[in-house]
């Protein structure tokens, strides 16, 4: 069985100690092959991340992990523009771009494309591959038919293709910080209130339905997207990499469960049963894959 298990970047504002401890455990105990590191959501949080970055990279590499650095997803103000310019000058690690401004700086040099890059079709993938893209993580909303066609196109071009298989789905980004707004602050005066919500700030509808979570400028699903049962089909299509996103759950356990699934040591139903034992704080969803409402969950035998 083939397929590479990856750990996506931490999207939330975890404090530096928590992050360092988290990655130490990943380095020592998790079977993931590749770890994406970096602050993707908010440029104000970046100093927390950068201070320990070299140490975390070293720790993960000693643990046998490949480390890829992920860029910011929103680039508007001068600080963010400078950060993106400097990011694209990194040559010590592979980098993943999440904003088009990075494509300007990278100018044909090798890079990966992150899931917020809107690679929806084979022509876009081909055009970007001709300009240096070696790997693409597909948008989270793509249904099975499109993932299949993209995987075939990627294989033809020798490009790696990655799909998120676990974690809350990123549904929108904005210029406005909804964490700051909830606390009647502005983004410039946020006092890092997002740190209070390490798994996102819940938004519940007025009829009490758990619906979304807010992570600064990002809005994510309340449900944890989970494509455990769909992994065989994806691999047959040519999907080469499977991405698990860090949540406030036992991520060593989650990555072990997915590693077993990818290696063929557990089937879809068994994998879902093992995930259920972890008492995750939200229901699972896989509607996007089935071309249905993203929040829905179809069982392993659903057509």
């Amino acid at each position: 069985m083939t397929g590479t298990l990856t750990l996506g970047p931490i999207l939330y504002h975890w404090d530096a100690d928590t992050k360092c401890d988290f990655y130490a455990r990943i380095a020592d105990e998790s079977p993931v092959d590749t770890v994406y590191l970096g602050e993707v959501i908010c440029s104000k949080r970046t100093p927390f991340c950068e201070r320990h970055l070299a140490r975390v990279i070293d720790r993960l590499e000693r643990g046998g992990k490949r480390v890829v650095l992920s860029s910011l997803s929103e680039v508007v103000i001068p600080r963010e523009r400078n950060m993106m310019r400097d990011f694209c000058a990194i040559d010590s690690q592979e980098i993943e771009l999440n904003n088009t401004s990075g494509l300007y700086h990278i100018d044909g040099r090798p890079h990966r494309l992150g899931p917020l890059m809107n690679v929806y079709n084979e022509r876009t993938l081909g055009g970007l591959a001709a300009r240096g893209a070696t790997h693409a993580t597909l948008p989270v909303e793509l249904p099975r038919r499109v993932v299949g066609a993209m995987a075939a196109a990627a294989r033809e071009r020798g490009v790696g293709v990655e799909v998120q298989v676990f974690g809350r789905a990123s549904l929108a980004v904005s210029a406005r910080c909804y964490h700051a707004r909830a606390h009647c602050r502005t983004k410039d005066n946020c006092q890092f209130v997002c740190e209070e919500d390490p798994d996102g700030m819940p938004l519940t509808t007025v009829t009490d339905q758990s619906f979304l979570v807010v992570n600064g400028i990002q809005t994510l699903s309340h449900s944890y997207l989970c494509l455990a049962a769909e992994i065989d089909e994806m691999r047959d299509m040519g999907v080469s990499h499977f991405r698990v996103l860090p949540q406030r759950a036992d991520m060593v356990a989650v990555t072990r469960i997915f590693a077993d699934r990818i290696a063929g040591r557990a089937d879809g139903a068994e994998t879902l049963a093992r995930l259920e034992e972890l008492n995750l704080p939200a229901p699972l969803s896989n509607g996007f894959w089935h071309g249905a409402e993203g929040h829905r969950h179809f069982g392993p035998r659903a057509a």
Partner: protein, 332 residues
């Protein structure tokens, strides 16, 4: 001071004629399918209607901009290719695109066709814009509705292409082209299908006390008392609860519309080449009133006068208006 173009919505052939007659310098419109970001039932143009629309506009000195600004999915690219080819054949003055693959197709196959970058491409920095100019020869960009006037002025000074900003209509909160909230709720995608909060899945549930609960798909987005006017359930204008708030609140934005009439002089001074009015889904009466008002206001600013606009607030969503992100960084 150069004379900025007034770019107006044309959801139907009748709206196109109305906009042109009301003083639009250009209209934007799309074909009747998923190739544009306003793929609503009853809207948009057949190829024949597009040909007639182009003739009508050109006869009166106005331009037609074709929106091909959704994201084709793998295996469906032909539909977007055909839309671009049809636009070129019918003599549209520019195509508005968001997808890199579509941009590349236009640049390769129709190098003489003017290329505009849609707001859906989310090009929010000079570098992002310069990427599209360098790689595909984009001539005009519509940046996301998240920038202040000062930031627009700065961007304009750093890019080798024209800039078009929204001045009136729907107030987008999420970065355009980076939002799949509708798909999460309805199974239809803004990027892939060109729909946002589709009417077919909207429900107004009446309670025994006469209150109305508005729903999209399975989720509730607001509740209204018996005497209140129930608003359309748009996910990013809904009310929610969260532990940090004692009461439900508009977590993203209140139901307000964008109106930058008061900022027109500053935007012209910043070098903006075109002003866009949102609303291909709106009525002819809306188009007539908004277009004629902005036509007059722009001409007044250019003549060195104070712009005078009728009260357009009655036409806006929720009958409330805002300058949104354009006024100050504090909006963020």
């Amino acid at each position: 001071m150069s004379r900025p173009e007034l770019v107006c919505p044309a959801g139907t052939p009748a709206a196109l004629r109305t906009a042109v007659d009301a003083g639009a310098d250009a209209v934007y419109c799309g074909f009747q399918n998923a190739t544009n970001a306003r793929n609503f039932p009853g809207l948009n143009f057949t190829p024949d209607e597009m040909a007639q629309g182009v003739a009508y506009a050109h006869d009166r000195g106005a331009k037609v901009l074709l929106a091909v600004n959704s994201f084709p999915t793998a295996g469906r690219f032909d539909l977007w290719r055909d839309a671009v080819d049809a636009g070129a054949r019918l003599g549209v003055d520019a195509v508005i695109v968001a997808d890199i693959g579509v941009a590349e197709y236009v640049a390769e196959r129709h190098p003489d066709l003017r290329l505009h970058l849609s707001v859906q491409a989310a090009a929010s920095s000079p570098e992002a814009i310069r990427y599209y100019v360098r790689e595909f020869g984009v001539k005009r960009v519509v940046p996301p509705r998240i920038l202040t006037v000062a930031e627009i002025r700065q961007i304009k000074s750093e890019i080798p292409c024209e800039i078009e900003t929204f001045v009136f209509g729907n107030h987008g909160l999420m970065v355009e082209g980076r939002c799949c909230l509708t798909n999460y709720v309805t199974g239809l995608s803004t990027n892939m299908d060109g729909v946002c909060s589709p009417a077919a899945q909207v429900h107004y549930d009446k309670g025994p006390d006469g209150s109305v609960t508005t729903r999209l798909g399975d989720f509730t987005f607001d509740c209204f008392g018996p005497d209140e006017q129930a608003g359309y359930p748009t996910i990013c204008k809904g009310r929610y609860t969260t532990p940090a708030r004692d009461e439900s609140y508009y977590a993203f934005e209140e139901p307000v519309s964008l109106n930058l009439a008061e900022l027109l002089p500053q935007l012209i001074e910043a070098g903006v080449e075109a002003f866009k009015i949102e609303g291909r889904q709106r009525s002819r009466a809306y188009v007539r009133q908004v277009v004629s008002n902005f036509r007059a206001a722009i001409d007044q600013v250019l003549a060195g006068q104070e712009p005078h606009l009728d009260d357009l607030v009655a036409l806006t969503e929720g009958q409330k208006q805002t300058v949104g992100a354009f006024g100050s960084k504090k909006w963020r």
